[in-house]
Symmetry: C2
Subunit: 205 residues, 2 copies
Amino acid sequence: MRKGEETRAKILDAAEISVLAKGFAATSIDELIAETGITKSGFFYHFRDKNELAKALLERYVENDERIYDEIFSRARELADDPLQAFLLGLKLLSELLSDLPNGHPGCLVAVICSHERAFDRDIQEINRQAALMWRRRFGAMFRDIMQVYRPREPLDVDQLADMVSTVIEGGIILSKALKEPKNLPAQLLVFRTFIRLLFQPAAS
Amino acid sequence: MRKGEETRAKILDAAEISVLAKGFAATSIDELIAETGITKSGFFYHFRDKNELAKALLERYVENDERIYDEIFSRARELADDPLQAFLLGLKLLSELLSDLPNGHPGCLVAVICSHERAFDRDIQEINRQAALMWRRRFGAMFRDIMQVYRPREPLDVDQLADMVSTVIEGGIILSKALKEPKNLPAQLLVFRTFIRLLFQPAAS
DNA sequence: GCGAAAACTGTACCGATGGTAGGGAAACGG
DNA sequence: CCGTTTCCCTACCATCGGTACAGTTTTCGC
């Protein structure tokens, strides 16, 4: 019903913040129920165990992630006719969005799960894998569109190029955190943007 | 003395494997002492608490990491006179090294710490930050050498370019794990290598 | 407004885990 | 052979994930 989903969402909200800050294992159920204002029984009414919490958390995170990418790149597609220009614009919009986060990117749940790998069951690892594959498909489609118009100066595998987008984002998040320089992630995205521009730049005449 | 360091190293060995596989919190002291063949008291003789284990673990990891980079890129420097060719060769050697790991890269401790951020004290976060800064200095110096000989086709900040190496490696590790495609990381490194080659390619005449 | 289902609360308990305390005992080094 | 290092043993504590289950309040459809 309505109320139940609301409580569930509040638990997930609290969990997401804590998990991204401290990791999954360090996020205690006691802490979550204190934050949400329910009891332990209430928690276990919504989630059979912590693993199910992780699953719900990851599913919600991935969906939200996809929504953000949808918005940004469809907006970019509206503003630019050319597929290359649209992609470059999308990267810039994404970079600006990340730059506007006051404390930097809070962290990616997919990466957190990867760092915990063997602590989670197959279900969760499969969700993670599917998320990465969706990114590959999304950006792969964009690069294919681009390649219908532009010839890359160097032959590159489309999937690997698509994966590079995720690689830069995930790596950028980590480096930003390690360095405590929130602007690092948006900056890295713009460096990558330059690479893409270079790759599809028509050979100087 | 000798014996003590040996035991300490055995603990760290077991801890590193487990932490990279399951995360830090999921790595129990009981498990480590079982693996090492000592008792709980023995463990706490070597490490005051788990946080000190993490610190020692990270310090050792970072040192080892630096050693590997030293070896690879000094070898590359021996084989190629030109700084750009040396760097490109180094990336290739690194890619091959990573490709030869049967189960893929086991994971980067720096990234694990980042995913656990607030669970660790300032000391550890500072070691992490210094590690990332050392990478920046290392690769930054290489790019500076390159730029004494080659002009980049696009103006790029040297530090950001240097950070991109770490970004691709860290991001590649995560993506490889998420996708369960160990070859992804070496492949991403080679894509990055192509970008660098493009960046410093003399303009077509 | 009523009944049933949904959404909780309360209490009591269990095993594993991180950590503490302190009294030893081998092993090793000088 | 003496002292330091390097451990072992026992006992104990708080926290945490999780179970069990009975009871209570809220909410919703009708």
